[in-house]
């Protein structure tokens, strides 16, 4: 019986110790949730940051929509998103939410054709393929801009994302901007009412289906295509040049006039070197940090982290095949971070 009592004490003590340990660790911990696209880069950045500054950052890659919901419910310190917050969400958040860009990404067209030719696309051709109007690879319009490539006589199988995704948002945002027909019939969103094609889950699902199906075409994130050595096509940009998607041509999309709030879609950029299907990925945070039971310390930690991510942290982007922020984007981000307040007073001095 004595033995039992001691054992009970041990267990209770252990649980208490864990709870206390957790509570004290929580002071130096920031919690974030959201987009899956920048997750590998964020986890690298947060790992380095916690070793350098002793602030742990816990980021859950639950998707942009989930990140925005958690931020609105105020259960996280910051959200991650590949899309700008919509009107309804902005209303639900009640307070001002800042969009701070961290890096840029591109969406590429990947296809399965014999001999892996480098295919050129224009916005209208992409739109018509994904709406089911162009059904053959040797369509006269495709042949006309691909005189040097060997385009076979194959039916086109369209593959799109079945899960709601920032990738789909960027892709459809581009097509809505440049093709009025797409804008009217399909529109833009994280999930769409696709007129044709097969849905596959995640980048791996799309890649898997495209690899298996001869004559198929799908869209995936640039980093995913690079890491998996997939073939992808060039897209004609606003200046009329066919641009190969690379990290440089992705970063170049931000070499344009950017608004102060950075709630900007980079698709169809007017920069001559820019690949047109490009987007920032943002960290979302409330402008005024004094909400709920948040302390001044927490606000300081968050601001320091954001500053680090947009400056020193940027050097981790390129090695991990993310496009770093262009200098003018960093300047805009600095202004946004400086505008964060705690009870009306700026956090950063």
């Amino acid at each position: 019986m004595v033995c039992g009592f001691i054992r009970l004490c041990c267990v209770v003590g252990l649980v208490m110790a864990l709870l206390i340990g957790y509570a004290s660790a929580a002071d130096k911990e920031l919690i974030g949730a959201g987009a899956t696209f920048p997750y590998p880069l964020y986890s690298k950045m947060f790992d380095v940051y916690s070793r350098e500054y002793g602030v742990k950052v816990n980021y859950q890659a639950i998707g942009s929509g989930g990140g925005i919901r958690q931020l609105i419910n105020k259960t996280v310190d910051f959200g991650g998103s590949d899309a700008i917050m919509g009107v309804e969400d902005t209303k639900a958040a009640a307070a001002a939410v800042l969009h701070i860009p961290i890096c840029a990404g591109a969406v590429v067209l990947t296809y399965n054709l014999p001999g892996n030719p480098e295919v050129n696309f224009t916005a209208h051709i992409i739109s018509d393929i994904f709406m089911g109007k162009i059904t053959k690879w040797n369509d006269a319009r495709i042949i006309a801009i691909n005189k040097n490539a060997k385009i076979p006589d194959l039916p086109i199988t369209v593959v799109h994302r079945s899960d709601g995704s920032g990738t789909t948002f960027v892709f459809s945002d581009y097509l809505s901007k440049v093709d009025s027909d797409w804008n009217g019939k399909v529109g833009k969103g994280t999930a769409l009412n696709w007129p044709v094609g097969l849905g596959a889950k995640g980048n791996p699902g799309v890649a898997g289906l495209v690899k298996q199906t001869p004559g198929s075409i799908g869209y995936v994130e640039l980093i995913y295509a690079l890491q998996n050595k997939m073939s992808f096509g060039n897209v004609k940009n606003r200046k009329g040049l066919f641009i190969k998607p690379t990290l440089a041509s992705t970063s170049a999309a931000a070499n344009t006039r950017l608004p102060d709030d950075m709630r900007v879609s980079l698709t169809d950029s007017d920069s001559p070197q820019a690949y047109p299907i490009t987007s920032f990925t943002w960290i979302l945070a409330y402008r005024d940090q004094a909400y709920g039971n948040r302390t001044q310390d927490k606000a300081n930690d968050l601001v320091k982290l954001l500053w680090w991510m947009t400056h020193q942290g940027q050097k981790y982007a390129e090695p991990m095949e993310y496009a770093a922020l262009s200098p003018n984007a960093v300047t805009k981000a600095e202004a946004l971070i400086k505008s964060i307040t705690y009870q009306g007073k700026p956090v950063m001095r």
Binding site: I62, G63, S64, G65, G66, I68, R69, G86, E88, D89, P155, T157, S162, D163, G164, S165, G166, V186, G187, K188, G189, T190, A191, L192, N193, W194, G197, L198, G199, A200, K201, G205, G208, L209, Q212, T213, P214
Partner: protein, 325 residues
């Protein structure tokens, strides 16, 4: 016949020495834990509480789904159930393609799986009840039930899809590889263990005197299986099939990987489609906007109700099939 007689004999042998041992340890346990021992009424209360908790939980899930899907019910009304367009951009939500996809894949899977699960059940329940062969097959089936569904999905994507695509090329259908048929095949394999195990139990439970009577009248073993075992065990076998149907209706991951996720009402067995579980899994994480989220939850509610209806109908059939001897 032999097994029936041997059971009581070995039992009576084991009793005399077994009794003293078990009683001693019983008493020791009783003394040691007497402080914690439950009184009869308290024990009964605990049991009642657990039983009631399950019902309360079920009702709670139903109510919370109903509550959370209220905005969609209000906005879409009855159109939700008959609509065929699912457009998150314009906010038009119709669930009919998903209901069709779910029912079609599940019932097709059920038909395919029954061709395998019933013979397995007879094989293990009647022909090879004991021995190496039996335990090998039994373990194999149990392992089949233990494989995570994402593995089934990947296996389907890389093994089954090319086979179906070759078949589609043969018959001149668009060579997608993914679709209703592929999803049903994967589901069929996944649900075999459930109906086979329960079927085996039921067949093994058929009283020996009935079987012996049939044999003594000159029936062959096949005739005995057909005329005695299957009629006697049919309600149990059907209950097993019902259990596996429940699993097929709710299966998400494996199906979503091979069904093609096209939000249309399927026009053929080869056509890509989508199911209720898979649209929820696909779109819930990124869903923004009240109506959109509520519509996804309403699909969950619909799946809940559809599963319940099928179960109730199944229960009714099971009760009608029961044979009193």
């Amino acid at each position: 016949m032999e097994s029936k007689r041997s059971v009581p004999r070995s039992f009576s042998k084991a009793l005399p020495d077994g009794e003293t041992v078990s009683c001693q340890s019983c008493r020791r346990l009783a003394v040691r834990y007497s402080r914690f021992a439950l009184s009869e009424p308290a024990f009964r209360k605990t049991l009642t509480l657990s039983a009631v908790a399950v019902v309360v939980l079920l009702a709670g899930i139903f109510c919370s789904l109903l509550y959370a899907s209220f905005p969609a019910l209000q906005a879409m009304g009855f159109r939700f159930f008959i609509g065929t367009t699912w457009d998150p951009v314009t906010g038009e939500f119709g669930a009919l393609p998903f209901v069709m996809g779910t029912l079609l894949t599940s019932f097709l899977a059920l038909v395919i799986s029954t061709f395998f699960s019933l013979p397995i059940a007879i094989f293990l329940g009647e022909y090879y009840r004991y021995g190496v062969v039996s335990s090998l097959v039994k373990t194999g089936i149990e392992l089949l039930a233990g494989i995570p569904s994402v593995i089934y999905g990947f296996w389907g994507l890389f093994f089954l899809v090319p086979i179906v695509r070759a078949l589609q090329l043969q018959v001149g259908a668009p060579p997608y590889g993914v679709g209703i048929l592929t999803a049903s095949c994967i589901l069929a394999i996944m649900i075999i263990p459930y109906s086979a195990s329960l079927g085996r139990e039921m067949i093994a439970l058929v009283p020996s005197d009935l079987k012996e009577a049939a044999l003594s009248l000159g029936a062959t073993r096949f005739e005995m299986v057909r005329k005695v075992i299957l009629p006697y065990a049919r309600s149990g076998i059907f209950a097993g099939i019902l259990l596996s149907l429940g699993r097929a209706l709710g299966e998400t991951m494996a199906v979503t990987m091979v069904i093609g996720n096209a939000n249309f009402i399927p026009k053929s067995l080869f056509a890509p489609a989508n199911t209720m579980a898979s649209i929820i899994a696909n779109e819930f994480t990124e869903a923004t906007g009240t109506i959109y989220l509520a519509s996804l939850i309403e699909i969950a509610l619909l799946l809940f109700v559809v599963t319940m209806i099928i179960n109730l109908v199944g229960k009714f059939i099971v009760s009608r099939l029961r044979v009193e001897v």
